[in-house]
């Protein structure tokens, strides 16, 4: 054997090993056990703990499930949570931190509408994908919609439409409305009036009250509504305002012989604090967590209970579904380039807890729906009865109307 011969053999062996090893090297750089996919989640954890603690629990549950099943395309999902304290300017700063320092691949979150809008504008300016989970304002996908923002939860329009449909079945003609004095409350009343009047042209709104958010003077507000003597009431107040409104309303007999149609009241976050004073026979949107027996929901409920030793709230479902949507999109896209992810989100269909949901390409709004039913007291606790699932897709305006409402082309 000459030295050259040995060298050639060794060279050949080395090349052979190299070609065998190369996939391993390439694999280690970007594949299994490789770089995790980082999601930056900004939310008002300190100012809205009642909704957002269950939300984060649902989020973490979904993330753990995804990672236990091997991650997305072999990559783990990782979320970095930040608290914006309810201030839009802080949310923008934290989004900047997540994007530049923590190098997240996409942004998510938002609870208050103004925070959601600030994050959406940031995402648009910096060309990052933003999956808004909770902010309800229609402007997020319509008047101020942009190509980089998508929203999961049914908007103010959609939920008002669900209730207007139920309200049209009632015989009442004289309506009163009470809503918190900010954009969400005002929009909800505006849409409800428009849609109800379209369905029943002879209704009239005899009184409207707009208590400051979180500071309702319940006695005076209830009295002012009663003075107008409506036949039915549309209520948009929630959380502490709702509780105070209900208590004063009952003591003064506001709800006797009157129909009440109420947004969000059927959600456990807002129904549970009322305890045994929960109103009965109100038509509400909500989430009857103990009664929905579809396969996907039962699986979710059991997993949530096992993980957190508590029952799920609507916030939990929103958090879980946001992660599920992001995971589904990442599987479809296969990478983490923003433009590819944005394209992947448009028209994305995935299996949410309540059923299949689609992110419409037209306006980036998801078709997640809500449960519509009546409230009832059972075992000293409020819950829903005679409920049905209202698919969000059925409660959106026709496409031409949407195109007019959303100036930016989809």
């Amino acid at each position: 054997m000459t030295v050259q011969g040995i060298q050639r053999r060794h060279l050949l062996a080395g090349v052979a090993f190299g070609t065998l090893a190369a996939p391993g090297i390439l694999h280690a750089q970007g594949g299994a056990g490789g770089e995790a996919i980082r999601i930056g989640e900004v939310n008002s954890y300190s100012s809205q703990p009642a909704f957002l603690q269950p939300y984060r629990n649902g989020w973490i549950l979904a993330q753990e499930q995804v990672n236990a099943a091997g991650g997305v395309n072999g990559r783990r999902l990782e979320t970095i949570f930040r608290d914006d304290g309810g201030r839009p300017e802080d949310a923008v700063r934290l989004a900047g931190e997540l994007v530049s320092s923590e190098r997240v691949h996409l942004l998510a979150g938002g609870f208050l509408s103004n925070v959601g809008l600030a994050l959406a504008d940031f995402a648009n300016q910096n060309k990052r994908l933003y999956v808004a989970s909770e902010p309800l304002t229609d402007a997020l996908v319509w008047a101020r919609g942009n190509p980089y923002t998508f929203r999961l939860r049914p908007s103010t329009y959609m939920q008002s439409a669900m209730l207007a449909e139920e309200a049209a079945k009632l015989p009442a003609k004289r309506w009163a409305a009470v809503a918190p004095n900010y954009e969400y409350g005002q929009s909800a009343v505006r849409w409800f009036k428009e849609l109800l009047t379209r369905a029943k042209p002879d209704v009239e709104f005899v009184a409207e009250q707009y208590p400051a958010l979180g500071r309702i003077d319940a006695g005076a507000t209830v009295q002012a509504l009663a003075a107008a003597d409506p036949e039915a009431i549309f209520n948009v107040t929630f959380a502490a305002d709702l509780t105070n409104f209900v208590r004063q309303g009952f003591t003064r007999g506001l709800f006797e012989r009157r129909h009440v149609v109420s947004l969000l009241t059927g959600e456990p976050e807002y129904l549970e604090p009322l305890g045994d004073e929960a109103p009965e026979n109100w038509i509400v949107t909500g989430y009857p967590w103990d009664q929905v027996e579809t396969a996907s929901h039962v699986a979710f409920r059991n997993a949530y209970r096992q993980r957190w030793n508590a029952h799920p709230y609507l916030g939990s479902v929103v958090g879980y579904d946001t992660v599920a949507a992001i995971a589904a999109m990442l599987r479809k896209v296969g990478g983490t380039q923003t433009e590819a992810m944005v394209k992947g989100m448009k028209g994305l269909r995935f299996d949410a807890v309540f059923g299949p949901v689609e992110f419409r390409a037209l306006d980036h709004q998801a078709t997640m729906g809500a449960y519509v039913g009546r409230t009832v007291l059972k075992d000293g606790k409020g819950t829903m009865v005679d409920w049905r699932y209202a698919d969000g897709a059925d409660y959106l305006p026709p496409d031409e109307v949407v195109r007019r409402l959303r100036p930016t082309a989809a």
């Binding site: 300190s46 608290d83 839009p88 003077d217 006695g219 604090p273």
Partner: protein, 618 residues
């Protein structure tokens, strides 16, 4: 029709009664100790939470319920004593309003502790036994408990008046309100007196919170929801006047009850409109006395303002060099934070101009910050103006409003002036919030981004640094100019200043407008830094931030606002990313800083410097 109006009036009376109950405690505390107790709302919230716990655990029935309410009031009284003894007592000699900083730390701590103890959910307490139902008045139903509250208000007023006018303790307290030093000279133990006053005030706050249990849910936002209304009631009534507080509560309760019949959307701003009108017409509130104690409560006189000593100048130059030379190596996020700090420094310095040398506190300074930001945003949105135009014109908008509002505010003095600035700020906020067609309402104005030449974070940072730091130096130069001397003269001795021909009103007015102008500069830069403008830029929390930065740094030094802005912004920014309980940690940090540096950070530094360089033997 008439029955409805009658019932509306009764509802107004019930709210007035609850308002008075909370405000009475603050009136008592403020009247004697002149402490602006920001934590009063927290005591109210604790009263409600403790009442809920006690009432739930004690057996049902009259004893359990009323015992729980009284027990909660007493417990809150004890907590108030604890706060006073551990914290406030040590800072009585600090410059005025410094206790505000300490009580703000307490607010933050209580918020997180309440969340940890009682959880995030709202709690609905039981109704009062024997007062569950309603009574028929003029054919309509009115809750019994509201009637009970309507009676409790005047009852408490009567008892307090009896206490203050017929007992020895009350006489001592009234004497201490008029002249604290004399009372001490006459041999009364001031410490015990103050602590007992605080106990009473805290008890009243706790009682007010506990009495809300059958009416409202107990939640974590109660403290901030009630505190601004309580301050308004106390100021409108006249500081330290119980009768005035009662009248003010009555006025506000009834106006609110009838106001929502006519303008349902007035709920946001009614209270502040009333305060603005009352203070403009009656500068000392409804029943306040115009003779405030001539001597300030502090025993330490402020050293004369001198140009910075050598080492301080070197330190400043070094900091400036670092601010200019290091950022190119920093990441995008660090640059954002540095830009925010530069803007905060200017904002704090502008407030310091009127608070320190000017001697006028302002609780509504964020209004001018917000005016600047909105001016820039409106120009961008409606006129498609480039960034340079927005930045140039924003300060003038803010300065204009400073001139207009300032004319009203500088006619008043002390806390009244500060509260009038707050009233104007809230009115401005509610206009921004509700005038949806122009300002976008609470959804704000989006798309206010810098022009392409300044879109890079580094370039924008240098721009902001130049403008903000330059403006801060300009303010410092103004303080050393004759105008600054005149400003300080009218603060230290208005009589002498008038005697030598200085028009105190005009000087204060100009200083206020100048401060507003500078705040507008900061606001304009902030708008383009964040890309969107919301009514939160004008809101009370932002004004409170400015106050905290100035107080933390030390009102009596010129470098105070710079140091305070750096410390506060830096601390908050770091803590938010590190822990969920950042409010608790921030509150504790503030309390610790307050205890160890009662002159503020820069003040403490100056004191230790002067101590080391004092000529020996003096």
């Amino acid at each position: 029709m008439l029955e409805n109006l009658l019932l509306q009036a009764l509802s107004g009376l019930a709210s007035a009664s609850s308002l008075f109950l909370v405000a009475s405690g603050l009136t008592v505390i403020f009247g004697v100790s002149r402490i602006v107790n920001f934590a009063h709302g927290s005591l109210y919230m604790l009263g409600a939470y403790l009442a809920f716990t006690l009432v739930t655990f004690l057996p049902r029935g009259h004893l359990g319920f009323w015992g729980g309410i009284l027990g909660a009031a007493l417990l809150v009284g004890l907590i108030g004593v604890l706060v006073e003894v551990l914290l406030l007592r040590r800072i009585y000699r600090a410059p005025e309003l410094f206790q505000l900083l300490a009580t703000f730390g307490v607010v933050l701590i209580v918020q997180d502790l309440a969340l940890l103890t009682w959880g995030p959910q709202d709690l609905l307490g039981p109704r009062a036994p024997g007062l569950r139902g309603s009574v028929a008045i003029a054919g309509l139903r009115f809750p019994l408990y509201e009637l009970f509250l309507i009676l409790v208000g005047p009852l408490v007023l009567g008892l307090l008046l009896l206490l203050f006018h017929r007992t020895r303790w009350g006489t001592l307290v009234r004497a201490a309100t008029q002249d604290r030093e004399m009372v001490g000279a006459l041999g009364v133990n001031q410490r015990v007196l103050f602590t007992s006053v605080f106990f009473l005030g805290a008890c009243l706050a706790g009682l007010a919170g506990a009495l809300q249990l059958p009416r409202e849910s107990v939640n974590l936002h109660m403290d901030l929801a009630v505190i601004s209304e309580v301050f308004v009631v106390v100021v409108v009534g006249g500081l330290g006047s119980l009768g005035g507080a009662f009248l003010a509560a009555l006025l506000i309760g009834e106006l609110h009850a009838f106001g929502i019949l006519v303008f349902p959307r007035i709920t946001l701003v009614l209270v502040f409109l009333v305060m603005a009108v009352v203070l403009v017409l009656r500068p000392h509130g409804l029943l306040g006395s115009p003779h405030e104690p001539a001597r300030a409560a502090t025993a330490v006189t402020e050293p004369p303002t001198r140009p910075a000593p050598g080492p301080l100048r070197l330190l400043g130059l070094a900091a400036l060099a670092a601010a200019v030379l290091l950022p190119p190596f920093a990441g995008d996020y660090t640059l954002t934070v540095l830009t925010d700090i530069a803007i905060a420094i200017l904002f704090a310095a502008s407030l310091h101009l009127i608070m320190g040398p000017g001697g006028m506190a302002s609780f509504g300074h964020a209004a001018y910050f917000g005016f600047g930001a909105y001016a820039a945003a409106l120009l961008t949105k409606w006129l498609a103006a480039p960034m340079a135009v927005g930045l140039l014109l924003a300060p003038f908008a803010a300065g204009l409003f400073g001139l207009i509002f300032g004319w009203f505010c500088v006619r008043l003095s002390g806390v009244y002036a500060a509260m009038l600035t707050l009233a104007f700020a809230q009115i401005a906020w509610s206009v921004a919030f509700q005038w949806v067609e122009v300002t976008g309402g609470d959804n704000g104005i989006l798309g206010v981004w810098p022009s392409t030449w300044a879109a890079e974070k580094l370039i924008y940072y240098y721009l902001a640094l130049t403008a903000c730091f330059g403006a801060t130096l300009l303010l410092r130069r103004i303080i050393h100019a004759p105008f600054g001397y005149a400003l300080r003269a009218q603060r230290d001795s208005p009589l002498r200043a008038e005697a030598i021909g200085m028009d105190g009103f005009r000087i204060r007015w100009l200083a206020f407008a100048l401060a507003a102008l500078m705040a507008g500069v900061a606001g304009g830069f902030f708008a383009y830094a964040k890309g969107s403008v919301f009514p939160t830029f004008l809101s009370i929390p932002r004004s409170v931030d400015a106050l905290l930065m100035v107080l933390l740094g030390g009102v009596r030094t010129l470098s105070g606002p710079i140091l305070g802005a750096l410390a506060y912004t830096g601390l908050q920014e770091q803590l938010v990313r590190v822990t969920d309980l950042w409010r608790l940690v921030l509150g504790c940090a503030i309390v610790v800083l307050v205890l160890f540096f009662p002159q503020g950070l820069a003040g403490a530094a100056r004191d230790s410097w002067e101590r080391r360089h004092e000529p020996t033997g003096t």
